[in-house]
Amino acid sequence: MLRIEQLEFGYPGAERMRFDLGVDDGEVLSLIGPSGSGKSTLLNLVAGFLQAERGRILLDQRPIQDLAVAERPVTMVFQQHNLFPHLDLYTNVALGLDPSLRLDSGQIESVRSALARLGLDGLERRKPGELSGGQRQRVALARALVRRRKILLLDEAFAALGPAQRSELIELARELVREQAMVALLVSHQPDDALIASARTAFVCDGQVAAIAPTRKLLQSSEPPELRDYLGSK
């Protein structure tokens, strides 16, 4: 289980942000909210790309907020630039296991089976430029799969895809999270994504979690007023 407790951070000249939330094993928690509200900042704090000034990030009761980026049990998938364009799919995934690429036979097999699990078998030697947007994000998920890190952060990872591909990949990510008992945070601008991905959704506004509730209930709620404005509901 992931717990974020009174995690504080401030950009120079801007209001301080403070986050509190919890995510259960096997759960994908969606984060929705207006641009600049702090959703991606929260993900960057969990990944370690930004350093929190105060507060704790606990994974299964163990604090991880002081660990270096590479030591955190985290895999992050971005909207774009997840893959190195000059490397083939196999190498892009294999880098997730060992950046020196010295893999033993078991690791090679796990790269192959991850690619197969994501429907990419036979494409190992292709370069990212030869794939569709959806296939590229599948490769990023395959790398997340081989890394076996407990926290999966999806920062608008599927935002550039069409509706059908987006829901297909969200379903896939949800399955992986459940299978591997991971915890996942999904940032999205589309309320529909939250409906597909998450039993619970958090509304982030002005640098804090302003509401957290079962997804359908939250999307029909009229409180707080900022949520109403964000969803455009009367």
Binding site: A47, V69, E71, M76, F78, N82, F84, P85, H86
Partner: protein
């Protein structure tokens, strides 16, 4: 049609200016003093030595410029927070507008007998050539390579950190692949510039042992009165330049990833920061010290004696006339070519558009001194070529400036055409009104930059003017060379300083007057 005809006229003039001299060069039989034996190149020790030295100095200059430039560009990329970073990058842009002969004086003022780091006689020869070439090419290579690091997406740095890549792995998987895209192009460009370098080799070469093809062409025509040998050398130079240009076309590739300005997310160790800062400081000293030294020497030099000399004001007027006329001609020709090429690109005829732009860069394959030699050979039996000095020098300098016009104006012009051409058609906006309401406001900045750059390049040229000029038709660059030849080093330093200030002043003025204020056209 309204775009095709002016572009066709420009292309025809370009062809005439380049191909006619080539025909002159190839018409060896008609030259006085021509012997068939002159063509037996490998039997001629002098020609062999000149060719090998040309290649050797260009190779060494390229190596000594580009290898350190990789380290310095990387240091600049990693130290986004470095104080004075913008100023130092500005300093690295300076050698691009400093005339070669001024740079030579700057180098002499540091490494000459009375300089801060005197090398004595050993400055003249390969050492001096390398020092001056690195002075020019290192900053150029840094500025060309730096965007490669800035084009690395921020997410790649974050990914590297998350995957636990060490410094070597980051270099291998992130930096090197990006660098590899640009490196062949940069290496070949620097090699080509050093291969065709004239003023540096002429002034610092130090005799037959350190002569390149360009200088040997000049010596054959002006001192040895041997046009046949000049022609052979020019043909050799032409063949080399065509080879390098073909290699550049073949190897130059653009990065495949989308450009996203970024700074590395990886926190650098204190040692790494010190090394990067040291590299930047050393390179800045290398570039800044000669300019500072020349400034101090020039200020303490015989200013009134130089300014009071009869030749100075005439040379000043000639310099400005040649610079401005060449720039206007070049910019007009570039504008007409680009207007047509943008139209072709808009009609999905991209290959034709590219061919039109490539034709404007023909000077890359046919160096100015080769064209000058061809014109000399072609015209000398019929007219007094020294009496035609201004049209010839202006025309060749305009040709030399054309690639810069195309490079700085091309992207903006293509973009403007692609975005607004249909709107203009629907509003029936064409001709003068289209220029006044659309093209001038949107394009005046790159236009100002192109005009300023070509003016300054032509003002500082010592190649063509040395071939055709005389005391009567001297420019400031030629005056400096004449003063150096007469061992009037203090006078040459003052003239060089005045030329530098004139170039910087004209550059700033034109960029401001034509390009407008920073916030114009936005």
């Amino acid at each position: 049609m309204s775009r095709a005809l002016p572009a066709a006229i420009v292309l025809a003039l370009l062809a005439l200016l380049v191909l006619a001299p080539m025909a002159g060069l190839l018409h060896l039989g008609g030259l006085p003093g021509y012997e068939a034996a002159d063509l037996r190149f490998w039997d001629n020790a002098y020609l062999r030595r000149v060719l090998l030295f040309s290649l050797w100095q260009a190779f060494l200059s390229t190596l000594l410029s580009v290898l350190p430039a990789i380290l310095v560009a990387r240091a600049f990329a990693m130290r986004g927070e470095l104080p004075l970073r913008r100023l130092l990058l500005g300093l690295f842009a300076l050698p691009l507008v400093v005339p070669a002969v001024v740079a030579v004086m700057a180098v002499v003022s540091v490494y000459g007998s009375d300089g801060w780091l005197p090398l004595g006689r050993s400055l003249y020869g390969l050492n001096g050539i390398l020092i001056a070439h690195v002075f020019f090419s290192l900053p150029l290579a840094v500025r060309l390579l730096l965007p490669q690091w800035q084009a690395i997406p921020q997410h790649h740095w974050q990914l590297a950190e998350q995957l636990g890549m060490n410094g070597w792995q980051s270099w291998r998987f992130i930096e090197w692949p990006m660098l590899r895209e640009a490196l062949p192009g940069v290496l070949l460009l620097v090699f080509m510039l050093c291969l065709t370098s004239f003023a540096v080799v002429l002034t610092l070469g130090g005799g037959p042992r350190s002569t390149t093809l360009e200088v040997a062409i000049y010596q054959s025509l002006r001192f040895d009165f041997n046009p046949a040998r000049a022609v052979l050398l020019a043909l050799l130079q032409l063949a080399l330049c065509i080879l390098v240009a073909l290699a550049t076309l073949k190897l130059q590739r653009l990065p495949e990833v989308e450009i996203a300005t970024s700074a590395p997310a990886r926190p650098a160790s204190a040692l790494r920061k010190w090394i990067d800062t040291g590299l930047i400081a050393a390179a800045s000293l290398y570039v800044g010290m000669p300019l500072l030294s020349m400034l101090l020497d020039g200020l303490g030099g015989p200013l009134f004696k130089v300014v009071g000399g009869g030749g100075f004001w005439r040379a000043l007027v000639n310099t400005l006339t040649i610079g401005l006329a060449a720039a206007l001609l070049s910019t007009l020709a570039g504008w007409l070519l680009l207007r047509y090429s943008a139209h072709l690109a808009h009609c999905q005829r991209r290959s034709a558009a590219r061919m039109v732009e490539l034709a404007g860069s023909i000077v890359y394959v046919a160096p100015p001194l080769v064209i000058g030699t061809g014109l000399f050979v072609l015209l000398s039996p019929h007219v007094d070529v020294f009496g035609w000095v201004y049209p010839i020098v202006i025309a060749i300098n305009a040709l030399m400036g054309l690639p810069f016009v195309i490079r700085s104006l091309g992207p903006a012009m293509r973009q403007t055409h692609a975005r607004y051409h249909r709107l203009c058609q629907s509003l029936d906006l064409h001709g003068w009104n289209r220029f006044r309401y659309l093209e001038w406001p949107l394009l005046r900045r790159p236009l100002g930059l192109a005009l300023a750059l070509v003016t300054v390049l032509a003002m500082g040229d010592l190649g063509v003017i040395a071939l055709f000029g005389s005391t009567q038709t001297s420019t400031l660059a030629l005056l400096i060379y004449q003063q150096l030849g007469a061992y009037l080093i203090p006078q040459a330093t003052v003239t060089a300083l005045l030329l530098l200030l004139l170039c910087l002043g004209v550059f700033a003025l034109l960029e401001r007057l034509v390009g407008g204020a920073d916030d114009a056209a936005h």
